[in-house]
Amino acid sequence: MSTVDERTNIEDTEFGKKAAGPVGWLDDRLGLAGASKRSHLLRKVFPEHWSFMLGEIALWSFVVLLLTGTFLTFWFQPSMAETTYNGSYTPLNGLEMSHAYASTLDISFDVRGGLLIRQIHHWAAALFVAAMIVHMLRVMFTGAYRKPREINWLIGISLMVLGLVEGFAGYSLPDDLLSGTGLRFVDGLLRSIPIVGSYLEYFIFGGEFPGDVIIPRLYMVHILLIPALLLALIGAHMILLVYHKHTQWGGPGRTEKNVVGYPMLPVYAAKAGGFFFVVFGFTALMGAVLQINPIWAYGPYNPSEVTAGSQPDWYMGFVEGAVRIMPNWESTFFNYTWSWNVFFPAAVLPGLFLGVGAAWPFIEQWITGDKREHHLLERPRNAPFRTAFIVAAMTAYGVLWIGGGNDIIATKFHLSLNAITWFCRIGLFVLPVVTFMITKRICIGLQRADANRILHGYETGVIERSPDGGFTERHAPLPVGSQYSLTNHDRLPVLEAPPETDHNGVAAPHSRMAKLRAKAREIYYDGSVDKPTVEDVHHAEEHLRDHDGHPVELGDEFQGVSESGVPRVH
């Protein structure tokens, strides 16, 4: 692999003569060569799969956000002090507005390239959150969060929460009508927090809404506090990724004990580095041709105005939907007002989503009792309960999202708002159950199909007519590589009832818990189809070789097979 002959000393080669100096200088001071050698850092192997790119999109859009955001800070003035606009955008000339809004107008109209950078920044933010969520789904669907990666999963959840808050803070900064409406919502949410709500509102807004400190405060949060936390956590995320080595899909030669792929230097570094330019270029093109958040069209914030059909950024859509479909419950007791109609959908529900998400690896581990390390990804079909559970959560999310756009749906499709709201209220509880069951059935069906393909081969498309006139289609065995890939996963555990009593005949101390766990495990594995056993395969091989008592002859031109079931003829 290396171009250097084993016997020559690297220092005597041409490369060695050039590089030894600088490398030596650095190593004299930092001693990094030892660490790099120990961890094979420069030639670290990264496996390849398209889905491993999703996290990279999130990473690179974060870098784009840092770069474009820095540019924007040169002009943006985070002040709510009043000023009279006098700039290039004539329709707003002479209007009273905050410095924040006026300077955002300046960035959009008077700073050359300012609008472009602003739009890239906004698009990259939407992409950042989207990529994080899809990346998280990938990790969940494939069980990549399993031991030893649970901590990295928690770091990922924190990154997502911070990303959402960061996006919302940024959305609020320009002090236009939409961002003010968003803040008004935050104000209402803070007020709805039981007992301490008013205090939080007054402390955060520096008095009554809107006050004159919220934008400077959010600015600090947006450009310092959260980015610093994000950077630190992203760093930790990456260090753990390198330490654990990336998960990989199973297949010939790919085991739990190795990782197969390309070395960091040069291939992975080039691909990943090149991908940064692709993400930046892509967002730049979006900034060039797709308008986003045209704040000049909304006007400065005015608490007595609102635009109809005002929508938050897409990632807040599910909270918005929950708030819209919530029944109008509010109660008074202990002399306090309790605004369940806001507190529950805007605070409790998102907390629930995140809490269950964060706890999921540990819940699953408790149910399955699986304490082993896992480096091979699990195909979604081979974990039917998990897959169905995620799909159910996605369904609930989707229903809320529809709720968040109920006014738009109502006007676009001429439906009654009332009907959509009730659809969402009921759907939130019913549809996830339905999709759970459907998904689980599909997974189990796919597991059966896999077992079938292993045992009976694939359909060759060759139809035979038997002497008595019946038609049959010939099956041919899958190539052994594909067969192996299909079986390269854990066998189902044997489920046994927990002992009622311990060895001494005394009621087992944790028997309640153990029973619950046994029940959970039963539900978790319910219906799953195990992969064929050695004997099954043995049997099937004989059967396949020996079709109707005749050996299967497919002819000379019939060589090789493809997994798609189409015979490949050379």
């Binding site: 109209f109 104000d187 008013s198 004990k257 190795n258 197969v260 270029g281 819209r324 002399n335």
Partner: protein, 349 residues
Amino acid sequence: MSDELDQLTDAEPIKDPGLPAHQHRPTDVDPAQELRAERQITGMFTVASLLLIGFCVAYIMIDKDQTFLGWSAMNFTLGATLGGALLLMGVGIIQWAKKLMGDDEMVELRHPAASTAEERAATLEDLNAGINESGFGRRPLIRRSLFLSMSFLALPTVIMLRDMGPLPYGHKNTVWKKGMRVVNDVAGTPIKPSDLQVGQLVNAEPAIMYEKDKDGEAVLHGTELLQEKSKAAVIVVRMKPEAITPSKGRENWGIDGILCYSKICTHVGCPISLWEQQTHHLLCPCHQSTFDLADNGKVVFGPAHRPLPQLPLALDSEGYLIAVSDFPEVVGPSYPELARDQKRLDDKS
């Protein structure tokens, strides 16, 4: 550990056939293909350079106000050149990696995330030695008092946040008071009943929002103005008097079917604006709470809980609409002390 895994492998129905043989790419075996790829990639990088020069030219040459196909010409050209250049560079680098860089897959062995048992033991020993030498376990008095002072450290941290804002004692209601004129929110002109037709809705504000002091300065401006506006904004509607069903005590709050309500939604405070004349419903654009203005602002749909507060109206000597008092109900979104504040308002009237 490895034995266990080996046993498992033995039970596998299909044996691992091992990594498939390496397949050479066209660029590995055909020099012509290799040359072509090299040219392609170099071409991409070169075009990228040209685009970046184009970016600078556009930056200098294009006028800010020029448009192109409805886009700002500046924004479009800068974005297209920058985006194009970046994309070409990215794709070029990736192509280079895919077509020309060594493509031998490598195998690296994994190790359990855990350290070895010795390492763990050694670390535990160090930890133990450290704790022992500190006497942390042996000197509970010191330990506990340290914990105590540590937890007291939270006090300054919390108390220092006190000045982030005033305490919310006694949410004031609004700037409306007896005799204040209801003025149109566009020009600040007072409103006469004859200005309103049946079915019409007008956005209005208290006259103080447009008042100037003797130096010609606005009485309310900046933050204060916004704070007051976010509570005092109202809408004035005219309906057929017979359509209105005032609740007890509200019979004389309107003038010939003209009623005045808070514009601030009782849900989370959006200004409400969508008026359906036929049904007398007012719809909030934020989460679609709907209030029946003919029926005392009652909530008929949506997540808002409290009815829209109503402002009692009268006419002044010149025949303009004025308020009889401040809102007798708390306006805006709910908050924990709302019940108490409402009681105070009730006691006052």
